[in-house]
C-alpha cells in the first residue's frame, strides 16, 4: 500500500490527472495503445452469470455505473448519477442522473435504462443475474423523470451507493429490452456491445483479443489513449513472460511469486492494491464440535497466519482480524480480540473444553474424535493454503481429511450443498462494512452464509448498521459488529491479501488504491510521451 500514509502522492497524482485532463500535449502520447491481458474470452455484459474473472475489469471500462469509488478513500462518487439521497427513513433512495450522456450508438441514456437494468434484469429471478442476491433489499426502481430514479427498498440498505459502485453497470434498454433473455444476446456479449464508457469495443476476436477504441461521444470528452487491447492469454506464466518481453502494459492479479521477475524489467512497476476481501476457513456450524466457540478459537490460535502469508503470498498480505478490511478507514475496527499464533494456548483451550489427546495423536472427547472432512477446490492458492492449515492443526491434535475437488464440483457440493466440515475459501465484497449477505441468519442454509452461522444478537447489530444513515451511526454499529465477529469467529479469518497489479511505468493517471477503482477511472489513464 504505497498509497496510504503519503498524502503528497495523492496531491501529485491529482495534479497530474488535472494536467492530463487539460491535455498538456507534450506530456501524453495520444497514439499509445495499451496492452492488457485476460485469461479467457470475456462476456461483455456485467450481469451475465459466470465468466466474472475474465470479464469484470473490461466490463468496468465499458459499462458505467450509477456510482464509482473515489480514488482517495473509496467512498461512492458520481458517475452516471450526479447526486443521491435517502428518503422515507432509508426505505428509498433517489438518484439524479447525469444529463447529456449518450450510448455508443448515439441513443441518449436516461432513467429508463436504469429501471430496465434493475427491474427487468437484476431483480428478475428467472434470469439468475450475476450477484443479484446482493441487491435483494431492492424492491423496484421507479422512474421519476428522464433524469431521476427512485430505488424503493423492502428493508433499509444504507450501503446501497457502495453496492451500486461494485460491478453494477447499466445496460441499454433500447438494445436489450426486446431480447428474450437480455443476458444471453451473443452479438452484444461476444461482439460489440452498446456502452457509455470512455472506450468502446471495436473488434472482438474470440480466443485472441478484444480491441477498444475511444468513445468519441463520451460525456467527459475524448479519452487520452488511442485504444486498448485485451489479449486473451490463459496461462499465467505466459502472461508474465509476455509482460517481461515488453508485450503487456498491465497485468492484473499478478502472482506474488512473479513480482521480482516483473520488477526486474524496469519497464513495469508493481502496485500493492487492496480490496475488501478476506480468506477464511469456514467451520460448519451444523457440526456440534465446531459449534463450540472454544474449539473455533483454539483452531484460530493454532494457525501461524503470518508464516502462511510469507510462504504463500511472499509477504504480500496482512493477518485478518475480521471480515472488514483496514482499507475501509473509519468503518474498520482493528481494536478487537486478536489470535496471535500460540499453539500452547490453543492446546490448553482444547484441554479445557474436554478435548484431550488420544493415543493416536488426535484429540477426543466422549468417544468422538477431532477429525474433520476438509474439501477444497482447485483455485488459486486454496490448495497450498489448506495443506499448511492441515499441518498446523495436526500439530495440536486435530486431524483433517483434505480432498481436492474440481472447482465446479466444489461449488456445487461444498458451497451450495454445504457438504463439508471445514473448508478454506475467500469472500470478495464491496468496500462497505455491510457484510450481512455472508453472516446473517437469513443467508444461512441457502445464501452466502456458508458456515450456516446464526446469531440473533449479530443480526440485530447488522440491521442497525443497514438502517443507520449517518457515518457516526454506521461506525458505532459496525464497530460493535466487528467486536462480536472477532470473539465469535463464525469464520476463522486468515488474511487480507494485497491485490498485485503490474503496470507500465509510463502509464499515468492510474488510481493505485484498488483495481476496480483504477478501471472505473480509465478515462484518466494516459501514457507519458517518451
Amino acid at each position: 500500500m504505497k498509497v496510504r500514509g503519503t498524502p503528497y502522492r495523492w496531491l501529485v497524482a491529482s495534479l497530474l490527472a488535472v494536467c492530463a485532463a487539460f491535455g498538456t500535449a507534450q506530456e501524453a502520447d495520444t497514439s499509445a495503445v495499451l496492452n492488457l491481458a485476460t485469461n479467457a474470452d470475456p462476456t461483455l455484459n456485467p450481469w451475465a452469470p459466470g465468466a466474472v474473472i475474465e470479464s469484470n475489469l473490461i466490463n468496468t471500462i465499458l459499462f458505467e455505473q450509477l456510482t464509482r469509488y473515489s480514488p482517495e478513500d473509496l467512498t461512492p462518487s458520481p458517475m452516471l448519477a450526479t447526486s443521491w439521497r435517502a428518503e422515507d427513513e432509508g426505505m428509498s433512495w433517489v438518484f439524479e442522473l447525469r444529463e447529456g450522456v449518450v450510448w455508443s450508438d448515439g441513443d441518449p441514456f436516461d432513467a429508463a435504462d436504469v429501471a430496465f437494468t434493475f427491474n427487468d434484469v437484476v431483480l428478475n429471478p428467472d434470469l439468475g443475474a450475476q450477484s443479484a442476491s446482493q441487491f435483494s433489499s431492492i424492491d423496484r426502481v421507479e422512474v421519476i423523470d428522464d433524469h431521476a430514479v427512485r430505488f424503493v427498498l423492502n428493508e433499509p440498505f444504507s450501503a446501497l451507493p457502495y453496492y451500486l459502485a461494485s460491478f453494477a453497470g447499466i445496460i441499454p434498454v433500447h438494445v436489450l429490452g426486446e431480447a428474450e433473455n437480455p443476458l444471453q444476446v451473443a452479438t452484444f456479449n461476444k461482439g460489440t456491445p452498446v456502452t457509455t464508457g470512455p472506450y468502446k469495443v471495436s473488434e472482438f476476436v474470440p480466443g485472441s483479443h478484444v480491441a477498444l477504441v475511444p468513445n468519441e461521444l463520451y460525456w467527459a470528452g475524448e479519452p487520452k489513449l488511442a485504444g486498448m487491447t485485451f489479449r486473451i492469454i490463459p496461462d499465467l506464466n505466459t502472461q508474465v513472460a509476455e509482460a517481461m518481453a515488453g508485450q503487456l502494459d498491465v497485468v492484473t492479479r499478478l502472482s506474488p511469486q512473479n513480482v521480482a521477475g516483473i520488477e526486474s524489467t524496469g519497464a513495469l512497476e508493481v502496485l500493492r492494491q487492496s480490496q475488501n476481501l478476506f480468506f477464511f476457513v469456514a467451520p460448519n456450524h451444523d457440526d456440534p464440535r465446531l459449534a463450540d466457540v472454544n474449539v473455533r478459537q483454539a483452531m484460530e490460535l493454532a494457525i501461524d497466519r503470518q508464516a502462511m502469508i510469507e510462504a504463500i503470498l511472499s509477504g504480500y498480505g496482512q493477518v485478518a482480524s475480521g471480515p472488514v478490511a483496514p482499507m475501509l478507514g473509519a468503518l474498520f475496527n482493528g481494536d478487537v480480540q486478536q489470535y496471535a499464533y500460540d499453539p500452547e494456548a490453543a492446546a490448553a483451550l482444547l484441554d479445557e473444553a474436554g478435548w484431550t489427546l488420544g493415543a493416536d495423536g488426535v484429540r477426543q472427547k466422549d468417544g468422538q474424535r477431532l477429525s474433520f472432512y476438509m474439501p477444497t477446490g482447485q483455485f488459486g492458492d486454496l490448495v497450498p493454503a489448506t495443506l499448511l492449515v492441515q499441518q498446523f492443526w495436526a500439530d495440536i491434535g486435530i486431524e483433517t481429511d483434505v480432498q481436492v475437488m474440481e472447482w465446479n464440483a466444489y461449488i456445487q457440493d461444498v458451497v451450495l450443498g454445504r457438504n463439508y466440515e471445514l473448508t478454506l475459501a475467500w469472500w470478495s465484497m464491496p468496500p462497505t462494512a455491510d457484510v450481512a449477505p455472508y453472516f446473517s441468519c437469513s443467508a444461512a442454509e441457502t445464501g452466502n452464509n456458508i458456515p450456516n452461522y446464526c446469531n440473533e444478537e449479530l443480526d440485530a447489530i447488522m440491521d442497525e448498521g443497514r438502517a443507520a444513515l449517518t457515518l457516526e451511526d454506521q461506525i458505532d454499529a459496525y464497530s460493535r459488529m466487528q467486536d462480536l465477529l472477532a470473539v465469535e469467529l463464525p469464520y476463522l479469518y486468515l488474511w487480507w491479501p494485497d491485490i498485485l497489479t503490474a503496470k507500465s511505468v509510463r502509464l499515468q493517471g492510474f488510481p493505485e488504491i484498488t483495481a476496480s477503482a483504477a478501471f472505473q477511472h480509465s478515462f484518466d489513464w494516459y501514457v507519458e510521451a517518451q
Binding site: 439468475g128 505466459t238 469472500w427
Partner: protein, 315 residues
Amino acid sequence: MTQYLVRRLAQGLVVLFLVSLLTFFLINLAPGGPSSLVDMSTTVAERNARYALFGLDRPVHERYVSWLASAVQGDLGRSINQGLPVTGLLAQRLGATLALALSALVIAGVLGILLGIVAAMNPNRWPDHVVGTVATLGMSVPNFWLGIVAIILFAVELRWLPASGIASIGRGFDVVDRIRHLILPAGVLAFGLMPNVVRVTRAAVLEVKATDYVRTARSKGLRDVKVLRKHMLRNAFVPVTAMLGLITTVLFSGSVVIESVFGYAGIGRLAIEAANGRDYPVILGVTMLAGTVVVVVNLIVDLLYVVIDPRIRHV
C-alpha cells in the same frame, strides 16, 4: 471399390453416433455443471433459475434426443458459457489448429523421414544411435514442460520469437508474423511426434533393404542413393502413411496441452475451456469434430495405400 467406400462411410457414421452417445452421457451424468451457472456467491435459487433457463432440469435422455435431432440438421446447439453457436466456435478455432497441426506434421514428417533414412542406412552404427537417442528423448519429455522452457529461452531471454498467440494484434494478415507465432508451438509438438516417424521409417527402409528386388538392383551395380530413391522410398511410404493416420489423433491430444501453454486459440484450448467449464454443447461439438476428422483421415490414409502401393486392394 465403391462398395468398400460405402461400407466404410456407414461404419464411420456408426462410430460417430457411438461417440456422441458415449460423450453425452458421460458428461451429463457427472456431478457439477456448467461453470457460468455457478460461482462462489451464487445462491441455490439463482442456480436453479439458471438451470431452468438452459433446460438443464430436463431428464438426460430427453436432452440427448433433442440434441441429436438438431445435430443431424447441422445445429450443434449453443455454448452455455459463451452464448455462441457451437458450430461457429468450432469453425473459428479449426483453422488455427489445422495450421498448427499441419506445421507440426510437416516438421515431424520431413525431419522424421530424413533421420529415419539416415538411421536405416547406417544400422547399429553411431548415426543410428544418435538418431535413436534424440527420437526417444522426444517421446519422453513432457511437452508442456518443453513448451515453457522454450518460451523462457526463445521469447524471454533471447527475444527471438513471440511467447504466445496466433498473430500480432492490429497487423492484419501477415504471413511472416503468423509463421513466427507458429514456430515454437509447432516445433514442440513436432518434437514429440517425430520419434514415431523416425522409427517407422527406419523399420520400413530396413525391411525393404532386405527384400529381393533391392538386392537385385544392388547386384546390378546401382549405387546406394539411387537404389534408395528408385525402389525403397515408395515402399517405405506405406507404413509412414499409416503412421500419419495415427498421428492425427495424437495431434489433437497434443494440441490440448500445447495450445494452453502458448495461448494459441485452437480447438485444443476450446476443449479445455469447455471441459473445465463443463460447457456440455461445446464438449460434444469438439469431440464430434475430432471424431469426424479421425474417421475421415483414416479413410483417406487407407485410400492412399492403394495409390502408393497398388498391390494392396480393398475388398
